[in-house]
Amino acid sequence: MNGHTALPEWDLLKAIELGNRDAFAVLYDRHASLLFGIGCTLLRDVSDAEDLVHDVFLGLPRALKTFEGRGPFEGWLKRTATRTALMKLRQARTRRAALRRLALAAQRTVPPPAVEDRVDIEAALLRLRPGQRDVFILRIVQGFNTRETADLLGVRIGTVRIRLLRARRALRTMLME
């Protein structure tokens, strides 16, 4: 506990811009789970998800210069973390490491699922085409709307709709038929 625990978000962010470490700790406690969840679903690797949380928090003082406070901070943070995760994904794909990652995914140390059906959905998601998987995760799992998803991925709205439709068809085939 420290003096910043009860601070409103805006004051907390100002403290972070000024480099206050206690403020970082409070912000971590508030939002780290959200970021880690984004990392696990998009990157599918605990180490990568940890790196995502780490990098987003460390990049905050600089990135906050662009946060104008027009919407909730959590939404902005979620978008920033998602962009960062997508960047990591893109780099991995560029290196043609994605396939290797898929093969290794089962052996990595993602915490065991609490519900039996999680294995199914997780395995099914891994078998989706990357573009479809990204859209499904952003749109359905992370809850971004179609426009936001298109913006984050740098694709058109129509592309998002088509990829989502195809992703759902594929998942339905894998999970229910």
Binding site: F24, A32, D55, G59, K65, T80, I121
Partner: protein, 714 residues
């Protein structure tokens, strides 16, 4: 509904994305259709299953790791802008802009070893000094200054209202720093009145060794209430404007963050966003800016605000095409800021538009405008001068030229060249050129940038002086005074290496019947690998015979190597310079610099016309065969369209992206894209100032390495 809704419609229903009317229609169908109800339930079930994946326990130890990194100050950049959709639907979506720059780059920015400021530090005390105060300086030097007992602190001071770029803002000796212990030096600086921003650099007495904090300078900003003033922050933006758009944008973002109520800050930021982020990204910011323009308008239209803010409101609205508000503020500029630079410019354009068909009348009216105003910024005066030239009014052009040069003397040569087109003004211009050549014969430290050593400045001064003498020679030639013209052109030819001067001087000698003198000058042209050719060869042989011609060329080659060698400014590239390839994969540019001479050409993708120059450079460099090669470094992320553009000129294979900013830092590209010639040991030898120097600079480096002199096709 007789038919089942399409899958996409059922999905949209499941996602609650349909309009109220469509929702009712699908719901009606679902009440009757078991198959579609199962379908929608399945869709929602898949979603809810997938959402459970986001609830993971945080790994133990992550919190400590993050906080430890925060404490150690590990710098990380995360993307803050979305990628942009490609312009053409069949193209893959591409990443552009600042966000994309970082995306392509990767997130972690490793501190780059900086040759100039590896561990040096300059501290101000007290930190928060108001305008006009005295500051104590403590400088912790690196080994570069040896055991010097004192060092010189140079400064560039800016006051509120000083312009972007500011070529005519002088550099001054601010203080002498005296060694107090080890490598620590101290001194005091009395800041001149009204200074709000200062950049400092430290150098030895001779101005040979300079520590300029990697060409950024150590910055001092006037403070009030414990933070930099808005004027100080604005001047920081203006100082960075011409040399580093990225740094200027960072400073503008800081300014608007600290003083969101200052329109001038937003107006400047907009300009930089357009320059630094490119039109695609900046257009995505349009809505926010337009909203702000309207909010400012509502708030400020009935307020008394400074002239600079009135002008900024007009520019800000104009740049985002908010026509009604721009027109409102235009009228206010004309009404409330009479005599301001912007008022002057607007009135000038009005006169020009209305009197285009009556140049004499237009000239009279602009003169009356000057009587009313009496002073204006350099930009406004340059506009008036340009309009007078277009109206072909010699006397008006001369008057505006004098006013312009009083405000911005650095434009002397360019203005003289333009005025020289009026035959009636040639005497005046010739006198100016004599004065300019005399002025340039003497060192003027106030015009030496903080980051430039005396030797380099001397060469720049010689180049300018050679230009002044050559221009006067050409004007004398036009006037028919061939003897005097020959003397001036000879002087110009002796100062620098300018093929145009050699040729003009040779022609004059030829006209006087001096074949040997002409051949000697033509030999200088012949050995220049960018200029020689069969025609010159034939001419030289006819003038003095084949044997003497070959002897003249040997002598000329030695001169070329000697003069080109004097132009070199050797500086090692950093140990690691990370760039990325087309796929975003990091590469070490430095590793690629080993071996042949490499021309490193920085390119901003916005500059499509620069591609022609790049292609010419590419052709020239490849003419050297394996002895030289070219690397094109893009200063920002490249879109698919950019790559295609490069590919259409066959340049995509040699292009890389400076996604980490390492290359820009390593080469210290001061200002807009620059080209550097690097020898095979990764030592930067030349920063190219003129394309026609490139071939001989490469040739000189190839020669130095003892390789065979390459034959370059004319």
């Amino acid at each position: 509904m007789f038919f089942h809704p399409r899958d996409s419609r059922l999905d949209a229903y499941a996602d609650r994305e349909l309009s109220a009317r469509s929702t009712r229609r699908v719901a009606r169908h679902l009440r009757r259709c078991h198959r579609c109800r199962v379908r929608v339930a399945g869709t929602r079930d898949i979603g809810s299953q997938a959402r459970k994946l986001t609830t993971r326990p945080l790994p133990p130890g992550l919190r400590a790791r993050v906080l430890q990194s925060v404490a150690s100050g590990v710098p990380v950049i995360v993307p803050v802008a979305d990628p942009v959709v490609a312009a053409l639907p069949w193209r893959k979506a591409v990443w552009v802009g600042v966000g994309a720059l970082v995306l392509v780059a990767g997130i972690r920015v490793v501190g780059v070893r900086n040759l100039e400021s590896e561990t040096s530090l300059l501290e101000f005390a007290p930190a928060g000094v108001p305008e006009g105060g005295t500051v104590s300086i403590t400088y912790h030097a690196t080994a570069r200054f040896g055991s010097a007992r004192s060092l010189k602190l140079r400064a560039r001071y800016r006051r509120a209202g000083d312009p972007q770029y500011g070529y005519d803002i002088p550099q001054v000796d601010a203080a002498t720093l005296t060694r107090t212990s080890g490598r620590t030096y101290r001194g005091n600086v009395a800041l001149p009145d009204r200074v709000v921003y200062a950049a400092f650099a430290v150098e030895d007495d001779a101005g040979v060794v300079i520590d300029s904090r990697g060409v950024q300078g150590w910055e001092w900003l006037a403070q009030a209430d414990g933070r930099p003033t808005s004027d100080a922050l604005l001047q920081r933006v203006n100082e960075a404007f011409g040399r580093d758009p990225g740094a200027a944008l960072d400073a503008a973002i800081e300014l608007t963050g600290a003083f969101p109520e200052r329109v001038e800050g937003w107006n400047t930021r907009t300009t930089l966003e357009r320059a630094a982020l490119g039109p695609d990204v900046s257009s995505r910011l349009r809505d926010g800016h337009v909203q702000r323009v309207r909010a400012f308008h509502a708030e400020l239209q009935d307020s008394t605000i400074p002239a600079s803010e009135i002008g900024a409101m007009y520019s800000y609205a104009k740049i985002w095409d908010v026509a009604d508000i721009a027109e409102w503020w235009r009228r206010r500029v004309l009404r409330d800021t009479q005599g301001s630079a912007l008022d002057f410019q607007l009135r000038l354009v009005d006169i020009y538009t209305a009197r285009r068909d009556d140049p004499a009348k237009a000239a009279q009216e602009t003169e009356r405008l000057w009587d009313d105003i009496g002073s204006a910024s350099g930009d406004a005066l340059a506009l008036a001068f340009g309009l007078a030239l277009q109206l072909k009014q010699p006397q008006a052009s001369l008057r505006w030229a004098r006013r312009l040069l009083a405000a911005e003397p650095h434009r002397r040569l360019a203005v003289a060249e333009q005025l020289g087109t009026f035959s009636t003004l040639r005497d005046t211009v010739r006198t100016w050129l004599d004065e300019e050549a005399a002025r340039l014969a003497r060192p003027d430290d106030s015009r030496r940038p903080l980051y430039v050593a005396t030797r380099r400045q001397d060469r720049a001064r010689e180049d300018l002086r050679s230009g002044a003498l050559a221009l006067k020679g050409r004007l004398l030639l036009d006037a028919g005074d061939t003897v005097a013209a020959g003397a001036y052109l000879d002087s110009a030819a002796a100062l620098g290496w300018d093929v145009a001067n050699f040729t003009a001087a040779a022609q004059l000698r030829l006209a006087r019947g001096d074949s040997v003198g002409a051949a000697r000058l033509y030999a200088l042209v012949a050995v220049d690998p960018g200029a020689g050719g069969a025609e010159i060869e034939g001419l030289g042989r006819r003038l003095v015979g084949a044997r003497q011609w070959e002897a003249e060329k040997v002598r000329a080659l030695a001169q070329m190597v000697e003069r080109t060698g004097r132009e070199a400014e050797p500086r090692a590239v950093f140990d690691l310079v990370r760039v990325t390839d087309r796929d975003g994969m990091p590469l070490d540019l430095r590793a690629r610099l080993a071996g042949p001479v490499t021309v490193v050409a920085f390119w901003v993708p916005l500059c499509k016309t620069c591609l022609t120059d790049l292609r010419d450079t590419y052709d020239l460099v490849t003419g050297f065969g394996p002895a030289a090669r070219i690397a094109i470094v893009s200063q920002r992320a490249l879109t698919e369209e950019d790559w295609n553009l490069l590919a259409s000129d066959g340049l995509d294979g040699v292009a890389v992206v400076d996604a980490f900013g390492d290359a820009t830092r390593a080469f210290s590209a001061w200002g807009a894209p620059a080209t550097f010639v690097v020898d095979g040991r990764a030592v930067i030898q030349y920063r190219l100032t003129s394309a026609d120097k490139l071939a001989r600079q490469i040739l000189t480096l190839v020669d130095r390495k003892g390789q065979r002199t390459p034959v370059v096709a004319p």
